[in-house]
Each structure stands twice: as structure tokens, then as C-alpha cells.
């Protein structure tokens, strides 16, 4: 079974994000980056499917030079090889443009299964996988927690809202977007890290894959969100803040 996993490098969850001077994106120079969380689950699902059925896991990622590090991490966890689509200005592409890039890189691979996380932790669009399926002319299912694969078909567990689930059958090749939490994530072993250094990372560029991309939706600017409630921050040492909160809970909220 040949499985492609589309992964994204995003600002680390605990990173302090600041708006850049242009007001259209965040200041990236001093940020730490990491593998997008649901993409890590997509990679884990792919690695488990390979362990069960054999085959190959190929990771694809678009972005600047720094993305190479996230690609190496995926290889260290057990992916067999990678495709790095180099692009310095990915934040100005819309979801359709990014999906076109990925589709152009993925199509020649003729994979049985294409996985990606259900949404990115930075833009949170939650669309790339679904658009990718449409562009590749493949069936898809989204928000998937578990995959059972057999010859030419998949049975997947799809998450619905409010604690409901559904199983869906679909033929391969197919695209699945993976929800976090379905599996336990593995860590890279020392041996894996060592091996990753010799694995193939094929580099291509956005310009080679999609010569012309005019966005149909543009991000005009970013801003700090307005507060929905006026928050009273309780200052002081932990003990003082705790005492102040107990006062409020007693006399204002009246729950104590």
C-alpha cells in the first residue's frame, strides 16, 4: 500500500505570535516551528497501516527551507521518503492554490491512499485535504479517527458532532483527513533519526508545479481579537490571587 501524507509545519503551540510590520502576517523571524498536530496523527495512521499491510509512506510538505526540519522528523518517525515543495511566500496562497501545489506533487505518485490532518493549527482552514480530493478526482472522508484497509476498499470511523460517530466505506484510491486522538503518537527513535539522514527528500518548487496562481480569496490583514468579556485579572502571588478569587466566587458569583 502506497500512502502519501501531506504535512504542514506551523508555529509551535506555545510560541508568542506577533503581527508583522505589514499587518498581513505574523513575525516569523523569532518563532519556533513544529509539525501540525493533526498531521502528526495522519502520519501515525499511515505508519500503522504500513506496518499492517506493507508498502511505502511518502510525506509531502510545502514551505520554505525551515520545513526541511519537520520533514526530517517525519522521516525519523518512519516515513520512507519525502517531497519538499519549496515556496517562500506560502502565506499569500489561498487554500485552492496550496491544494493545487500538493495535487501536482502527489498525482504522479499514483498512491493508494492520501492522508492529511483535518486542519492546520495556524490558519485553521480545515479544507486542504477535501480540496485535494476534488482536484485529484478521488473520493474522500474527513475527521477520521480510525482506518481499516483491505483490497481496494476502506472502512473508516468518522467523527460527528457531540460524541457521535459514523463508519464510512469508500474505494481506494482515496483522501482522508485525520482527526487527532485516534492513535497514540510515536516518538522518533535514535536509530530512526540516524536513518532519516540517508532517506530521499526530493525538492521541487511551487513555480515548477503551479506556474501561475492567482488567489480567489485574500487575507487582507490580521489583528488582535476584541475581548468578548471584560476580564478582571486578579494580581499578586498565587496565594493572594487565589484568596481574591475565592472572595469573588463567594460574593459576586455566589457559588461558594
Amino acid at each position: 500500500m502506497k500512502i502519501i501524507v501531506a504535512i504542514k509545519q506551523v508555529p509551535d503551540r506555545d510560541a508568542q505570535v506577533r503581527i508583522d510590520a505589514g499587518g498581513k502576517w505574523i513575525e516569523e523571524s523569532d518563532l519556533q516551528f513544529a509539525l501540525n498536530e493533526s498531521d502528526a496523527y495522519a502520519l501515525e495512521e499511515a505508519l500503522q497501516l504500513k506496518e499492517k499491510h506493507g508498502g511505502e509512506v511518502v510525506v509531502v510538505s510545502a514551505g520554505p527551507e525551515r520545513v526541511g526540519q519537520t520533514i526530517r522528523e517525519a522521516l525519523a518517525k518512519g516515513a520512507d521518503r519525502a517531497i519538499h515543495i519549496e515556496s517562500a511566500d506560502l502565506s499569500t496562497w489561498d487554500a485552492l492554490g496550496v491544494a493545487r501545489l500538493l495535487a501536482a506533487a502527489i498525482k504522479p505518485e499514483n498512491a493508494d491512499l492520501i492522508l492529511t490532518g483535518l486542519q492546520s493549527d495556524d490558519l485553521g482552514l480545515g479544507q486542504t485535504g477535501v480540496i485535494l480530493a476534488e482536484l485529484l478526482g478521488l473520493p474522500h472522508a474527513s475527521l477520521i479517527l480510525h482506518v481499516d484497509a483491505s483490497e481496494g476498499r476502506l472502512e473508516v470511523k468518522r467523527e460527528l458532532e457531540e460524541g457521535w460517530f459514523q463508519s464510512v466505506e469508500l474505494p481506494t484510491p482515496a483522501v482522508l483527513t485525520i482527526q487527532s486522538g485516534g492513535n497514540k503518537l510515536r516518538y522518533a527513535t535514535l536509530m530512526g533519526i540516524k536513518r532519516a539522514k540517508t532517506k530521499e527528500v526530493r525538492r521541487t518548487t511551487a513555480a515548477e508545479l503551479v506556474p501561475e496562481a492567482t488567489p480567489v480569496v485574500v487575507l487582507e490583514g490580521i489583528s488582535l481579537p476584541a475581548k468578548q468579556r471584560s476580564t478582571q485579572i486578579l494580581p499578586g502571588s498565587p496565594k493572594e490571587a487565589a484568596a481574591a478569587l475565592v472572595e469573588r466566587l463567594k460574593f459576586e458569583v455566589r457559588v461558594l
Binding site: D14, D121, L125, P215, I222, A242
Partner: protein, 323 residues
């Protein structure tokens, strides 16, 4: 071009609140732009649902009906709406931002050469659509730059459902051309994950824990706080994903929606998926080390600090106050 269309979603022949919120958003956008607003309902038998929607101030309600639309599939719904959009040429198509919409609307948009502006929390002049970025730490303003229908999905709670005014719309039927071979996925009936033994929705007080707790071994300090308060213990998604607490204690879009008198969020940053599950709480208290965490945007009281110091101190203070 023919105005603003709102696609109303049904689940088990019922229309959810988020769909009425989308109708309200559509009404607002239509009024702003001087466009007619119409409703769409998709299914195999939609007569009674359409009648319910037609009770709102809409120009028309279209029943997109076909036996193959009895059960939701991305292929069926995309094909049907693509045909409706080709026939009606709407300027804007609004959807409620549900899991179902997330499953098909991006593909439908791509088919039209468009991009769904998803998870919108506000609409401004232009129109410019606001959605959250960076797990709610920032807002982004999006605008359609091309031509053709503009597809939008609206986040739960962003518009008031009761703002959708009453009226009497004309109802018509649109029969798309669909073949069984075009529908490539076979969904089963939805089922409940596990026996629901905890009903967080009726809990008067909830202490909820997030990623900031770092390790499962650290959970007892939060459990002790919940016990001291007499509150139910809940969690954000990552805690349940890790198996540290059962899924049934999860608050958020994929878990339970709660509105207790007191919601005390410990080490929860406040991504939108969590906020939609708890922002109806009467009083929100947040304890977090990051003063910029989005949870503080919805908090009434906040303590910025190390939860490993603040939570034990709070437990002690509560115990002392009860003696």
C-alpha cells in the same frame, strides 16, 4: 446574479440552532448589500422542513430533493448544490460551519474555482469576513478577490439565531440529476461513541483542564480543586485524546456543550473548538501562564500564573472558606 442563499442543515429531520444563525447572518448580509435572501434545504423528503424555513423572512425556499440525498454524502450534496448554483447564480452562499459542511463545502467551492471562507465569526463592510487564526490568538480579515459565487461558513454562536425574522417565503422544488454511480462513499447510520454516563450540561460548576497540565500524573491537583468546589471535572480535547480523561468529559465542538454557573478553565488556551462548547457559561474563570491566551477573551476573572502554584493555593483557599 441572484442574491444570498443560505443552506440549512438538518439532522434527523430537525434544524439545528447553528442553521438559524446562518439564516440570520444571511439576512444581515442581504440587508447590507441590498440582495434578496433565500433558503435551501437538501434531502429526499424536505417538505415539512422547507415549511419551517419558509416561516422566516426569506424571498424563496428551495427544496433540493432526490432519493440519493436521503443520507448525507459529500458527492451527493456537492453535485446537487453545484447544479443549483449553476441554475440560480447566487452572489453569496452561506453555510453553518458544521462537520458536514466542512466535509463537502470546500470540494464544492473548488469545483466552482472558489475557496470557502470558513468558520466566519463576523462580517464587516466590503464585505470583509473575519475568522480566527493561530488557535484564536489572532483574527484574520478575508475578502473574495475573484468573480463568481462567494461561499461562506458561519461559526456557531457568531450570529443570533433569534435575529432571523419571521416571514412567509415561497417554496419550490429543485430536482438535481444524480446517478448512484456518482456517489462513491457509503456512510452508515451514526452511532454514539460510548455510554454517556456524565452529563456535564446540567452541572452547575465545572473545573476543566487543558494541555497546560503537561502530564497525566499532574491531574490530581485539578481533581482536588474540583472536589473542593463540588464541581464536575472536564477537559479540552488534547487531554481526552491522550486518554488521560474519558472522552465523555470533553467540552467543545466534538464533545459536550455546557453552560454552568461557573466554568473554571485550568491550563486551557481557548481554541475556538473549545470555546464554542463553553462560552455560554455564566461565569468563566481562567488560570493560564500566557496572558495572551484566547481563553482570557471570554473570561470574567483571570489569574495569570503557573497553574502548579495557583491551583493548589486555590484548593486550600476554598477549603478554608468552607470551614
Amino acid at each position: 446574479m441572484s442574491g444570498v442563499w443560505v443552506v440549512v442543515e438538518q439532522r434527523e429531520a430537525r434544524i439545528g440552532r447553528i442553521s438559524w444563525e446562518a439564516v440570520a447572518a444571511g439576512g444581515w448580509l442581504g440587508a447590507k448589500l441590498g440582495l434578496q435572501v433565500s433558503g435551501v434545504v437538501i434531502g429526499a423528503e424536505t417538505e415539512s422542513l422547507a415549511a419551517e424555513i419558509a416561516g422566516k423572512a426569506l424571498a424563496r425556499v428551495v427544496r433540493v430533493e432526490h432519493p440519493l440525498l436521503a443520507q448525507y454524502t459529500a458527492d451527493g450534496f456537492s453535485l446537487a448544490l453545484e447544479q443549483l448554483i449553476a441554475a440560480e447564480k447566487p452572489d453569496y452562499v452561506l453555510f453553518p460551519h458544521t462537520y458536514q459542511v466542512r466535509d463537502y463545502a470546500p470540494a464544492l467551492a473548488a469545483r466552482l474555482g472558489q475557496v470557502l471562507i470558513s468558520d466566519v465569526i463576523g462580517i464587516g463592510d466590503g464585505p470583509v469576513f473575519t475568522r480566527q487564526l493561530m488557535q484564536g490568538r489572532l483574527n484574520g480579515s478575508y475578502r473574495q478577490s475573484g468573480d463568481g459565487p462567494c461561499l461562506i461558513s458561519v461559526q456557531a454562536g457568531a450570529f443570533r439565531a433569534d435575529a432571523a425574522e419571521a416571514g412567509a417565503a415561497e417554496v419550490s422544488v429543485f430536482a438535481p440529476t444524480l446517478g448512484a454511480e456518482q456517489i462513491r462513499t457509503r456512510p452508515s447510520e451514526p452511532f454514539r461513541g460510548s455510554e454517556q454516563t456524565v452529563d456535564l450540561s446540567s452541572a452547575p460548576m465545572i473545573v476543566s483542564v487543558g494541555r497546560g497540565i503537561k502530564e497525566a500524573e499532574n491531574l490530581p491537583i485539578v481533581r482536588e480543586l474540583a472536589t473542593a468546589l463540588g464541581a464536575e471535572l472536564a477537559a479540552s480535547r488534547p487531554i481526552c485524546d491522550n486518554g488521560w480523561l474519558p472522552m465523555e468529559r470533553q467540552v467543545g465542538s466534538s464533545g459536550q456543550t455546557v453552560s454552568p454557573k461557573l466554568y473554571l478553565a485550568v491550563g486551557i488556551s481557548g481554541a475556538i473548538q473549545h470555546l464554542v462548547g463553553m462560552k455560554g457559561s455564566q461565569c468563566v474563570v481562567a488560570i493560564n501562564k500566557d496572558p495572551d491566551a484566547p481563553i482570557f477573551e471570554v473570561a470574567d476573572y483571570g489569574i495569570v500564573g503557573d497553574l502548579f502554584e495557583v491551583v493548589p493555593a486555590l484548593t486550600e483557599a476554598i477549603k478554608a472558606s468552607r470551614q
